[in-house]
């Protein structure tokens, strides 16, 4: 039977088990949108800005373990997706972005709403396609999903010219996708794994440093088993939070620029550093030459180009984090049991002393709401079990520090690109994937204004997302740098905002406000008991700083504590 390009596209999405699409229509995708009216099994969520569609697909992917899908028109629709794509690229999130394109005959003519989106997104997609022949359509779409979700996941873009969408053929749907030049290595080399284990067993001060790879490969349980068995303390990057339970005694907190004293000291003193699914980002390492100066480094990553990119690695292991940790656990299981708790006591005592010396903390105030207190209360009142998205800035760091994540895929944050405006649309995507869950965007007053238009999307779709604005009336993180490194010259960081309560109401959501510490808990309780989208406007201390802080380019042990 003949099918149009639009029908083939939607059929392929169905074959990929896609249930939700985030999108925004326009001229060249009219046929696809028309076809959507006859495809009730695919639910389309109409956003209010294409950037939000991509962040929503990103949040959806993280919360559902599926590939998130965004659909937009050509030209401005396509360019609006770029920030979302770049963010998903840096965080290795599997999404497929489908952009309409002008008819093939017009490509290259500067036609109305034509941009070379394949050219624009080449450096920020895992791969991208311009489909010029309808005979290639089905295979291309399935390839795109395969590439997005396999190996080191990432965004894939498919550009579909209008005439390809309108043409019709009798399609052949591929049963299996094989790309001869693309074969990610999942199974780690057992010899390397053995070498790593020997090194770890011989270590006196081992440390696990884990990242988003643990979350993406669903390796949290194996990680916990491994760390527990060998009694190795664990720290993680922002992207790795929740990959190891925040209530496990071996947990040291996040490392890096706003990491805990204890985690950063542990890195500085460790003799073997086991990096699993993390990539030695500059926000983690600080001054590279002084990062983990005493440690032999083992690095597990599915992407060979991550290994030895920034630091010299002693035992490189290319493979899936889950596969590697399983191998390690299996090897351990075969070895005679040993009292690792006893062997590890001196190191764990040292670490515990650091933790006691400078725990994560803040100065309480009876009169002004401290932003950290809001996050703590959110954690307490959701029993640590909510899905948390964040914006970018201080709000993001306080969420990371004070919401103690016990489970993977509970934190969605734009880690690599640091996109202000990510959190709210991402929360929307998370809520679509997890309709019964509590989803909270921990936001800043600046960031929330970057995608505030999505309020109407959540209202319209009955997505009861909660937004907790830590309203410090500043672009707080930038202000913090100005305070610390530019003698408090607050250039363009004091920032006005609308009345968020009225704004919420204008959109048909619920607005709540807390101006005093004693109002925080009742506001959160009320929000959690409201089965609708809620904006909570917490008027917090304007000049609070995120501490500790390793100034950019400084060594980890040079951190500022207060």
């Amino acid at each position: 039977m003949k099918m149009t390009g639009a029908q083939i596209l939607l059929k392929c999405l169905e074959r990929e088990d896609v249930k939700h699409i985030f999108g925004y229509p326009g001229g060249v995708v009219l046929d696809i949108y028309d076809e959507l009216t006859r495809t009730p099994q695919l639910k389309h969520i109409l956003v209010r800005h294409e950037q939000a569609a991509v962040h929503a697909a990103d949040g959806y992917a993280r919360a559902s373990r599926k590939v998130g899908v965004a659909l937009v028109t050509s030209g401005p629709g396509a360019t609006n997706t770029v920030t979302g794509i770049a963010s998903a690229y840096l965080d290795s999130i599997p999404i497929v972005v489908i952009t309409g394109q002008v008819p093939t005959a017009l490509i290259g003519n500067d036609a109305f709403q034509e941009v070379d989106i394949v050219g624009i997104t080449r450096p920020c997609t895992k791969h991208n396609y311009l489909v010029k022949d309808i005979n290639q359509l089905a295979t291309t779409i399935h390839e795109a999903f395969h590439i997005a979700r396999s190996g080191r996941p990432g965004p894939v873009l498919i550009d579909l010219p209008k005439d390809v969408v309108q043409a019709s053929i009798v399609p052949k749907f591929p049963e299996e996708i094989k790309i001869k030049s693309y074969n990610p290595t999942y199974h780690a080399n057992p010899r390397q794994v053995k070498r790593a284990l020997d090194m770890i067993r011989g270590a006196k001060k081992p440390l696990l440093y884990t990242g988003g790879g643990i979350i993406l490969s669903d390796a949290a349980e194996e990680l916990t088993r491994f760390a527990d068995t060998l009694q190795i303390p664990v720290t993680s990057t922002l992207m790795g939070l929740g990959g190891f339970p925040g209530n496990n005694p071996l947990w040291l907190g996040m490392l890096g620029m706003h990491g805990t004293y204890c985690a950063n000291m542990a890195v500085s003193q460790a003799d073997v550093l086991i990096a699993v699914g993390a990539r030695f980002d500059d926000r983690v390492t600080g001054k590279l030459s002084e990062f983990a100066p005493h440690a032999k480094i083992i690095h597990v990553d599915i992407d060979p180009s991550s290994i030895s990119k920034n630091v010299k690695v002693d035992v490189p292991i290319v493979g899936d984090c889950l596969d590697t940790l399983k191998q390690l656990n299996d090897l351990l299981h075969e070895l005679p049991a040993k009292d690792w708790a006893a062997a590890r006591r001196p190191w764990l005592e040292t670490v515990a002393a650091w933790e006691k010396e400078h725990p994560l903390t803040y100065t309480w105030s009876d009169t002004v709401i401290k932003p950290q207190y809001v996050v703590e209360k959110l954690w307490e009142l959701t029993k640590g079990d909510a899905f948390i998205t964040t914006e970018v800035g201080q709000n993001q760091m306080w969420a990371a520090q004070f919401y103690r994540f016990n489970k993977p895929r509970r934190l969605m944050t734009s880690g690599g690109l640091g996109v202000m405006g990510y959190g709210f649309p991402a929360a929307m995507g998370v809520q679509v994937a997890q309709p019964d869950a509590i989803v909270i965007d921990i936001a800043g007053d600046g960031s929330i204004q970057m995608n505030i238009q999505e309020l109407i999307t959540v209202v319209e779709n009955n997505l009861p997302v909660k937004v907790a604005i830590l309203n410090n009336t500043f672009l707080g993180m930038v202000r913090q740098w100005q305070q610390l490194f530019y003698e408090r010259r607050y250039s363009s960081t004091p920032m006005g905002a609308p009345d968020f309560v009225k704004l919420a109401e204008a959109y048909g959501a619920v607005g709540l406000r807390a101006t005093k510490p004693e109002e925080v808990e009742p506001v959160i309780r009320e929000a959690l008991n409201t089965p609708k989208p809620v904006i909570m406007d917490f008027r917090v201390e304007p000049e609070e700083c995120v501490m500790p802080m390793v100034p950019a380019g400084k060594a980890m042990h040079e951190m500022l504590l207060a």
Binding site: G119, R122, P123, K180, S181, D303, P304, S305, S308, K309
Partner: protein, 162 residues
Amino acid sequence: MEPRHTISVWVDNIPGVLSRVTGLFSGRGFNIESLCVAETMDPEVSRITIVSTGDEQITEQIIKQLHKLINVIKVVDLSGVEHVEREMALVTVKADGASRAEILRLVDIFRCRVVDVSPTTYSLEITGNYAKMRAVLDNLKVHGILDIVRTGTLAIQRTKKD
């Protein structure tokens, strides 16, 4: 000077692939000294020869990044193996009076070919490896090079003879 690396890259012969490869260099601030591309015996596959400069770590990173491109089939760093390199240049050199004979002597010594002649110039075809190209061009420079075009380096692995 940083070491030169000659890298052979087999890629899908489809539009946009060259720009993926070169974009990877420019986007990371890696330098390309020269670049040659053409179809192989399999029309679906092209072979790119890239010469770049950079230390070991940069080269290792370049090669890994190349591998990561979906359309890249195979990457070989020829610097690590026995190989033959050739480049071709077409050069128009000023040739009048006494220099005409001198240039022909150079042509003879370096086994170049004269491909065009005018009363005041010779155009030469020169092939050779990097070192030879430099030697020839250094010698021709003194006579005045009026125009030059070079192919960039081609390289092929030597067959193991055992």
